[in-house]
Amino acid sequence: MKTAAEAALAEAFAAARDRLPGDDAVAAQRDAAFGLFAKEGLPHRRVEEWKYTDLRALMREAKPLAPPPDAAAKARAKAAGALLGDVETRRLVFVDGAFVAELSDLAHLEEGLTVDSLADALSDNDPVLTRHLGKLAPANNVAVALNTALMGDGAVIRIAAGATIERPLHLLFVASAKPDASFVRSLVVVERGARAMVIESHEGPAGSDYQVNAALELFVGDEAHVDHVKIVGEGADALHVSTLAAAIGAHARFNAFSFIAGGAVVRNQLFLKFDGEGVVAGIRGATLLNGRQHADTTLVADHVAADCQSREVFKAVLDNEAHGVFQGRIIVRRHAQKTDAKMMTQALLLSERAEADNKPELEIFADDVQCGHGATSGAIDDELKFYLLARGIPAAEAEALLIQAFLGEAIEGIEHAGLREALLEAVAAWLKARK
């Protein structure tokens, strides 16, 4: 143990170990995961996957585990989730990482939908956990390991075969003003042929340097159709690390979208495994950073089965001294013939001092595939801007239009019209606040 943060995490784990929920098997899982962290420490720039996000340097201290939220915190949480506007969702609210039933909408669950809190499921030894928990999230990832070791609560959602859940499920994670740390872990199991949309949003107050480590494991059954949207709107001083690990079954449709606008340091990890043949997937993201924000999106799309199609489009707009990172790896295994995978990553630098680091990788072992990636970075195209200026549009407005068009390419991929509108509006608001 070298850094103060590493020592504090070890202390926190030792102190909390016995009161964290779950049976002996879960405790063993926690110990093993923490063992990995104890061995590796916080990832630093010499660890290839963390080259651009040196947690050892960026995470100076580890905050204490958040206590259960008090009434005031719960009351403030009522106002959360404004970004989604009038998109009608079924809300599941978590304050400081703990599920708050009274703020959540658990009435009249659609047929085939089951919702539990992870804390309850762990205490009840719910068999769904033995089958699924920890099966997808990569155990050798230190952020995931910390999450597994310290997970306190989260959502456990099951959707039965063939069920169609019309209202998007909205997991709303709200941090209170206390500078604490929360470790949330969710599990979503969508069975064969079911249809659902899961929105995961994270927010909290500015001025508090709280820490969030969230992980979600998502099982997409054969022929299911699942959309996952993550919105990182954390407070300006927060540290946010989150992981989506998904396995996608044969002939399923899967869309994922990451919208990152908040937080001081954000690491957004996606580990997608194309397990069955004939999957069609669209993985997209938009990142808007300002001030000295740092946001890293790391994506691994692992094509295990043949005949899958994946499209990845990630856009970043970076202002002031912001630092945007995208690392995306497409793996095509030996038997995944006829894979069609394309990845595009683009960064738009609005200021002299912004920095964009892109690392799109291909790792290909099958010969009959179509794979490619593209990466660009640069400032706003002067010619495009001139075209608009020549038509009498003021400079600031012209820039805003071009930025909206740039991000629009990714956001347009969202199938839910209401959500698409809400995110475009969030972009417009960000641009307004920029001035």
Partner: protein, 506 residues
């Protein structure tokens, strides 16, 4: 679309068991005691009769090397290298005083390799061996036939055995000689530039090289001079159990131009041999260096036994305004290649280029690419890389493009394509693109060039068969890189690579 039969056949023709340069020259040689120690370093330095400053430089490198660890980040896999089981110096016993004095065995070796060492023969144009007849003879105005006027420095194991056309080059003021000679004759230049691009402790293999480097070429082109002929070094590993540690230093002074070619082969052996070279290029204001490599070290047999470990550090420094450095490489040999010819674009308006074709077959492993470091204003760079993996090989492109905060107006375009032939190989792309400046424009694409249906249709419409159409389009596709090679090498290159590239993956 899987590879068509024609491509498969062509690749087989250059498969590892078809290695043509695997013969051994039986001559006696003079070796350093096996293993590496301070004494080995002193032995090599003494052999070369080096001045004290050179020995001190080497010993410093050796001390640093002892504290370093082998890099492990590349996508290559090999057992531990026993650095004490290698001869660090091997030289033919009979040291030649002049060209006429060279051991005839060595001359025959180079003749067999198609490299003329006798100027008279070179001037007449040596008799072409089969396959070279197809060359378009009239296209090189200054050249003449075949291997026209190319000045050659031939390095055999650890020493340079001959350097041709020295006199004629001297007339133009161009210095072209083995680096061991340059240490004596031009110590100021060597002192000033050696290690200035690849610092002594740059990386594990470069540091090892700094300690034990034996020979290599030294080139200095004075201001305003356009080097009158192509310069070339031919590296040959012959002795068993030796490593080759060559060091090349090329300096192009203000406004000068030089084109330099490098070729490499080695005999077939069961053991792995180490080749850890360092190449440093320095281009001052408005100078241009064009550096081409045809790397055809022994790649190991069909089961992956033997072959050269090619762990090379190559770097060019565009030190002056408007300087240009261009790397072209055709990599077909070596069991393992670990090589990233790079450009430091320090001078404003300087330009770096990297053109590469890497073909791997059998159990070869290639991890190669480039680095373009944009430090000066308005610097530009271009990367074109084509990788072809067949057999059980793995072929990785790894490249870094980065712009410094003050490097306003930096531009890069990168295109890397790869092709897999067969389902037991792998092709990988690992680009790092770092932009620290908003006026930078970086574009990277790794296109999947399965050839466009449209192009094929166009050709088919004009009566070509599907295969002919594919071959036509593909040839055009590889020519991006091939046409960067000087004429003298183009023939050899085409022989090595008449491979079509359809159904490729980025």
């Amino acid at each position: 679309m899987p590879a068509v039969q024609e491509t498969v056949d062509q690749v087989r023709r250059i498969d590892v068991d078809q290695y043509k340069y695997g013969f051994e020259t039986l001559i006696e040689s003079d070796k350093a005691p096996k293993g590496l120690s301070e004494d080995t370093v002193r032995f090599i330095s003494a052999k070369k009769n080096e001045p004290d400053w050179m020995l001190a430089w080497r010993l410093d490198a050796y001390k640093r090397w002892l504290t370093m660890r082998e890099p492990k980040w590349a996508k290559v896999d090999y057992g531990p290298i026993d650095y004490q089981n290698i001869y660090y110096y091997a030289a033919p016993k009979k040291a030649p005083a002049s060209l006429d004095d060279i051991d005839p065995e060595i001359l025959r070796t180079y003749e067999k390799l198609g490299i003329p060492l006798r100027e008279r023969e070179a001037l007449l144009g040596i008799r072409k061996t089969d396959g070279q007849n197809s060359e378009d003879g009239g296209a090189e105005p200054a050249g003449g036939n075949g291997y026209g006027r190319v000045a050659v420095d031939a390095v055999f194991d650890s020493v340079s055995v001959a350097t041709t056309f020295k006199a004629e080059l001297a007339k133009a003021g161009v210095l072209f000689m083995p680096i061991s000679e340059a240490v004596h004759e031009h110590p100021d230049l060597v002192k000033k530039y050696l290690g200035s691009v690849v610092p002594v402790s740059d990386n594990f293999f470069a540091t090892l090289n700094s300690a034990v480097f034996s020979d290599g070429s030294f080139v200095y082109v004075p201001p305003g001079v356009r080097c009158p002929m192509e310069l070339s070094t031919y590296f040959r590993i012959n002795e068993r159990n030796t490593g080759q540690f060559e060091r090349t230093l090329i300096i192009a002074d203000k406004g000068s131009y030089v084109s330099y070619l490098e070729g490499c082969t080695a005999p077939v052996r069961d053991e792995n041999q180490l080749h850890a070279a360092v190449v440093e290029l320095i281009a001052l204001d408005d100078a241009e260096i064009k550096y081409s490599t045809i790397q055809n070290w022994y790649p190991g047999d069909a089961n992956g036994k033997g072959g050269i470990y090619n762990f090379v550090t190559k770097r060019g420094d565009c030190r002056g305004r408007g300087a240009k450095i261009s790397w072209t490489q055709l990599e077909t040999g070596s069991a393992i290649t670990w090589k990233y010819p790079s450009c430091i674009l320090r001078g404003d308006n300087s330009r770096g280029e990297f053109y590469s074709i890497a073909i791997s077959n059998g159990y070869q492993q290639v991890d190669s690419g480039t680095k373009m470091l944009h430090l000066g204003k308005n610097t530009t760079s271009r990367i074109i890389s084509k990788g072809i993996a067949a057999g059980h090989s793995n072929n990785t492109y790894r490249g870094l493009v980065t712009s410094h905060r003050r490097a306003t107006g930096a531009r890069n375009f990168t295109n890397c394509d790869s092709l897999l032939i067969g389902d037991q190989c792998g092709a990988h792309t690992v680009p790092y693109i770092e932009t620290k400046n908003s006026s930078t424009v970086f574009e990277h694409e790794a296109t999947t060039s399965k050839i466009s249906e449209e192009m094929l249709f166009y050709c088919r419409q004009r009566g070509l068969s599907a295969e002919e159409a594919t071959a036509l389009v593909v040839n055009g596709f590889v020519k991006d890189v091939l046409q960067q090679l000087p004429m003298e090498f183009a023939v050899e290159a085409q022989k090595l690579i008449s491979v079509s590239l359809e159904g490729s993956v980025g």
